[in-house]
Symmetry: C2
Subunit: 496 residues, 2 copies
């Protein structure tokens, strides 16, 4: 018994190592790599990804997983070993269903689409991207067919990011969000918000402040780094090697909130149980659950009054000329300013979800053939008017703003809002378990929250689906109520 | 014909990619990686190195190389394709001769030895290292036996770093060096040298100066980087991805000379012909040839009067308080100060080679069984007295100063002095071809020298052995004369 299991762990350990290598190759490329190295790096990456895939789909691994069925059944569902066999089999079977040629075509279509997207944005011309999206939808249909799935074809795409969640479940969440948030937004429309903060905020001081803040949150330089990149992200090329990136701008403090966001991702990876090290379980369970962690630190912690009561005096000391005349209340309102805007990634906590609803609806319609790619720009613009009351002035600030469809990523968008929803649900449970949570945060003590998250979310890694983790942590299925309560209470207090 | 060759290039391209991945893993580990990531990184590295080795020794590659024999013979020796088949076969056959277990044992003994070395240095106790060296010599004998070699067993070890060079050839060079340099050093012993420069030299200004200097030498930020690390080195995780590291100290300007040294290594890798990209030929030919390039830029360029005539005014501007009172002549003498010293890596241009002769002799005696490991510390100390006139006060400044033997690297030392010798020989030829070389350097124009090196050394990559490259570039076999002439002339002028 243990012989075969050891053999499995050896194979999976090597696959894990190769995946971490790919993570480092990407991190390096986005942060430090000299520009002209791109062509050579693409070859290195393709070689490592190819070898990894060969190993994931190998007959050797398949036979071993088959032989381990009885061992798996003899073990408790929630044991590390049963979970390892179960998840590895799921990965193996999924990967084997997709022929290598189709996988290569999808990857190629994604790269070409990304190039076309950059050019289409540059020239404000959706037509340059259109044939690529059409091709990708065709390939996505072929991809869906690989799975003999008789439900909604969107299920198959969603499963790549949100294992075991159905489209119907995601739809129920997003519909409810739309119902709740549109009226909430209307009710706030007449209220006068504060103006945004005026910069410029010198970059070196933002950087120094962010580093000191991250250390206070729980970043240990022995296993974390912070670097710069065009778009902020978090990578974990090792369980004790967590790398956050951010991008500071002089005009605003967005790079600071990006640090809080990426810290949430990084902490999840950092607090996976060491017993899962070098297995496919040693990472986050799903995109939505990951996003719940980043949004929790960015918003539920990082845009809370308790947090800024603790942190703001130091921020003001770091920027005396820029913030000396701004009191805590004004600052707090400024970083929680709600106003419909054109760009998803700059949106506030409420309107953000409407951007997601819009995209989720459109990509489902595209996949179902109810919407033609050529009609996508108009459909996008119309829904911006209907959900956000804004008419996009050009395609760059409309259908061309995200790279997700261009690079062949369909099915990802709903995980952003699901993440918000899960964050609030976990937060309610954390507050029940830690009645002093607000006081702890106000005193700069983040350890109780970190430990609660470790115990109830992080340590499990990929042992359970996101829905299972949420149910274990909160005793309930994923539900929208806590998030709506959180938003309503917070913004009622702010906007009256 | 071309079908099989394409197949070979595909296999070798993947091996190349994996080797570059290993290079990036090491570079990252030495420069940026958080400390606690070391254990995970060791696993990643072992996995990639293991997969690379599997592919180098694979039957598939062996059959292909066998099938390509007739094509190879039909092609000119110096064609890219014939060279590719020839060098790949050599690598494949060498790698296959060593059983995996022995390779693993050598690697393990190296890691253990390195750990023991650190502790032995700490405690000033050679006995902690002794059993490891004994074990390594035993393993090295087993390694040598893999090759059915009937000459000097040291040939086999030397071949790993200096392909196709025999011990007898290396010995002839080092013997001649000893004969020439000991009297030269004695003649200089009575001369009064200048005192070294007094710091402190603020680190940020050293860094800024080094970066601007490197750009002038030929570093393009689109394909090069400079970072910090404990020990300076150069890595090339891509043909357009050259990464130098250095270590600046406030007390002296050694970190600046390390930049020049590593620039020489980097330029060699950068100027390999793009036609060799993604093949095993796309790197330097040997350790000595590589070292010839680094020592050329560090010493023949970087410690020349022409170079400092150009550069010194700016250095003095960067350190007005530290160097304002030091004129060019005094500075030039200070960076060319000759004085026997205990530590190899800090040695001047002349005594450096005596450190090497000493180590080369001792490791040959160890391998031949003429010297026991337990007698090594005494033998080391005695030879320090005899060649350098210095009695080491402890083992750390004597037999424990280098990590080469501790980490199972035997056969490397002679390549350092061979590099010095080759550098001077190439330099004489470059000066013949570029009669204005000194003036060009004094005018800050390094392009003619770079181009001469590209044409005569760098572009060939591993197509030829070091001896072949030297003969093609200079018309002569490797010879000591130019180096002795260079040292004699330079230091006669300096010391009278």
């Amino acid at each position: 018994m243990s012989g075969r299991l050891d053999e499995l762990k050896t194979l999976l350990g090597e696959i894990h190592d190769l995946e971490r290598v790919t993570s480092l190759l990407s991190w390096d490329q986005e942060t430090l790599m000299p520009a002209d190295a791109a062509a050579g790096r693409a070859e290195m990456r393709a070689t490592v990804v190819g070898i990894t895939h060969e190993r994931v789909v190998s007959d050797e691994l398949g036979r071993l997983l088959e032989a381990l069925r009885s061992e798996e059944e003899a073990l408790p569902y929630d044991s590390d070993d049963a979970s390892l066999i179960r998840v590895a089999r799921r990965d193996h079977e999924k990967a084997r269903r997709v022929p290598s040629e189709l996988r290569a075509e999808l990857s190629r279509a994604g790269s070409l689409g990304l190039g076309a997207w950059l050019e289409a944005r540059e020239r404000l011309d959706f037509e340059l991207l259109r044939p690529h999206l059409e091709r990708q939808l065709e390939l996505k249909h072929r991809y869906v067919e690989c799975f003999d799935h008789d439900g909604d074809p969107y299920d198959v795409l969603l499963d790549d990011f949100e294992p075991e969640l159905t489209t119907a479940e995601a739809e129920a969440v997003l519909d409810r969000l739309k119902q709740e948030l549109v009226p909430l937004l209307e009710a706030m429309a007449d209220a006068d918000g504060d103006e945004p903060l005026a910069g410029p905020f010198p970059l070196d001081r933002q950087d120094a402040f962010a580093r000191s803040l991250l250390v206070r949150l729980g970043v240990d330089p022995r296993s974390w780094r912070l670097d710069g990149s065009e778009h902020p992200f978090a990578a974990s090329p090792g369980i004790a090697d967590i790398r956050l990136t951010t991008h500071f701008y002089e005009e605003h403090l967005g790079g600071l909130f990006a640090c809080l966001h990426e810290f949430g991702h990084g902490l999840y990876e950092r607090q996976v149980s060491p017993s899962l090290f070098r297995t496919p379980l040693a990472t986050g369970a799903s995109s939505a659950l990951h996003e719940s962690q980043s949004r929790m630190w960015e918003n539920l912690v990082g845009r809370s009054r308790a947090f800024w009561s603790h942190v703001y005096p130091e921020l003001r000391d770091a920027f005396p000329a820029e913030l000396g005349h701004v009191d805590l209340g004004r600052f707090f309102r400024a970083v929680n300013r709600v106003r419909p805007s054109l760009i998803r990634v700059d949106a506030d906590e409420i309107t953000y979800n409407l951007h997601i609803v819009l995209r989720f609806e459109l990509e489902r319609e595209l996949l179902a053939g109810r919407l033609e790619v050529r009609d996508l720009p108009d459909a996008f613009g119309e829904r911006m008017v209907s959900y956000l009351g804004l008419e996009p002035p050009d395609v760059r600030r409309s259908v061309l703003q995200d790279m997700h469809w261009a690079d062949a990523t369909f099915g990802y968008f709903p995980t952003y809002s699901l993440g918000n929803v899960i964050a609030a649900q976990l937060w309610e449970s954390a507050r029940e378990a830690l009645p002093d949570l607000d006081d702890q945060i106000e005193a700069g003590d983040f350890e109780p929250l970190r430990e609660w998250l470790r115990e109830h979310v992080h340590r499990h890694g990929r042992k359970y689906s996101a829905a299972e983790v949420v149910e274990r942590a909160t005793g309930r299925q994923i539900e929208v109520g806590p998030y709506v309560r959180y938003l309503t209470e917070k913004f009622r207090a702010l906007y009256g």
